[in-house]
């Protein structure tokens, strides 16, 4: 019963660039209909995790299973077939700058289906309506604000009704209104389309209000996880520091360096 609901299963996942370990023994389970946040400081391996789920990079060991299939074992055609059921919202939208808003949303439908143009038009307008930008379908990406391009990108990524949506820092650089618009859209679309949404973010307040479960990643390992309620009252030092945005705690403020006195050449070297 539990496995039937599980959409994404990550087991003992390791990944390293050259010799630098990025992820170290990560285990996660994500169920259908859930919005899951993956939080952590910059450079903690969050985005890499999305790339592993999307099959852009191959794990050093362990696996990512999406609806029962191990992603890195799929051949190219099977991986592309799998990706048609996934959506990914890139940090700054990644809209195709040479195509209009309409053509951006229609892109996947035109590439992957033989639907008549009249039906594509209806579908595109429906998707744009869902993100509140039906009236902007003639604009070019350069004419959109940051929040609007991300909403268009969201409409584009749900064009084929994916079962899994991934959001890479969807809240970065947005004003408070656009931020809550994107937040509530993610929640509403997840519920309406019965998909699973994974949000990689470091925006604590906005994401805690919309997600079902939170994973904290630090130095490539899961430092803590739990529901938003559990996380808010957590006494674990890392979670506490992160949720409350404290400068000091288990995450150091300083990048590793030799002693300050030595750097300023004030320390006498012992002969």
């Amino acid at each position: 019963m539990m496995t039937a609901e599980t959409l994404v299963e990550i087991s003992d996942l390791n990944f390293s660039y050259d010799t630098r370990a990025i992820l170290n023994g990560v285990n996660m389970t994500m169920k259908r209909g859930q919005v899951i946040a993956i939080m952590g400081g910059s450079g903690s391996g969050k985005t890499t995790l999305l790339k592993l789920i999307g099959g852009e990079v191959t794990p050093s060991s362990g696996y990512v299973k999406v609806s029962g299939q191990v992603i890195h074992e799929l051949n190219r055609d099977a991986l592309f077939a799998m990706r048609r059921k996934m959506g990914m919202l890139f940090q700054f939208g990644a809209l195709f700058t040479d195509l209009s808003v309409f053509d951006n949303v229609a892109f996947q439908m035109r590439e992957h289906s033989d639907l008549p143009e009249s039906m594509i038009r209806d579908l595109v307008l429906m998707k744009l309506h869902a993100v509140g930008l039906r009236g902007a379908h003639r604009l070019m990406p350069a004419q959109l604000s940051g929040g609007m391009s991300r909403r268009v990108a969201l409409a584009r990524s749900i064009a084929l009704d994916p079962m899994l949506m991934m959001f890479d820092e969807p809240f970065t650089g947005l004003d408070p209104i656009s931020l809550s618009v994107i937040g509530s859209l993610i929640r509403r679309l997840t519920d309406a389309l019965e998909m699973t949404s994974i949000i990689v973010t470091h925006d604590v307040q906005e994401s805690l209000s919309i997600v079902d479960y939170v994973y904290f990643i630090a130095d490539g390992v899961i430092a803590a996880h739990g529901t938003p309620e559990e996380v808010k009252v957590s006494k674990a030092p890392f979670v506490h520091q992160f949720v409350h945005g404290e400068t000091d705690g288990p995450v150091p403020f300083h990048y590793p360096a030799q002693t300050y006195l030595k750097d300023l050449q004030l320390e006498k070297t012992v002969a």
Binding site: F92, A94, Q108, E111
Partner: protein, 264 residues
Amino acid sequence: MPKRIIAGIQKVGHRTIEGIRRLGHATLFFLLVLLKSGTSLRRFNLVVRELYYVGVLSLIIIVVSGLFVGMVLGLQGYETLQKYGSESAVGTLVALSLVRELGPVVAALLFASRAGSAITAEIGLMKATEQLSAMGMMAVDPVARVVAPRFWAGVISMPLLAAIFSVMGIFGGYLVAVVFIGVDAGSFWSQMQSNVDFRIDILNGFIKSCFFGVAVTAIAVFEGYDSPPTAEGVSGATTRTVVTSSLVILGLDFILTAFMFRGL
């Protein structure tokens, strides 16, 4: 001192190995583009769209440059030929220089700086703004959808642009020699007609421009696709496209000329 020399030698070695590695990488990428050209041929409107950006928008620079190069050739040719009383051969001189050499070579150099750099910058920026990754995540292969149509558009445009360059050049030569200086129009055209051979001159010039088209566009798409996803990376890649293309055009021109006209 020896340490510095060793370090210098190591640097040279490292650069050489890196250069060869990149060349191999570029060759593999070129084969990949050819392999994934099916989409471009099936959906030819993708190529037609790029033909506009790569070919049609390059027309102005090609037409104007061709005209001026032809006019200069007419002027210089007349000045020299009249010393030997054979100024009527100026038509032959203009036509042969353009069709055999200047048409393909100068058009290719202009094409590299006008269209090649644009292709590199566009693909590089698409990569830097994650548009290519987004396409891949939408299960659309960016090499088939973005790179291959641009490659074929360049390959198709180049010979046509070279031909237009030559025609405009001959017209420029005619303007200077016949209209302004007053060389006899009949001998200008008839000498040209009898001395320019279709197979040896025109066909060989055409073959050259095809080679240049493949070389320039292959370099441009590779540099764009391989560029580091930063502003600095894209600008470096664009410069490399123009420099490498120009050198390759000139080197290739010598090799092709040696084979074609000396029968080596």
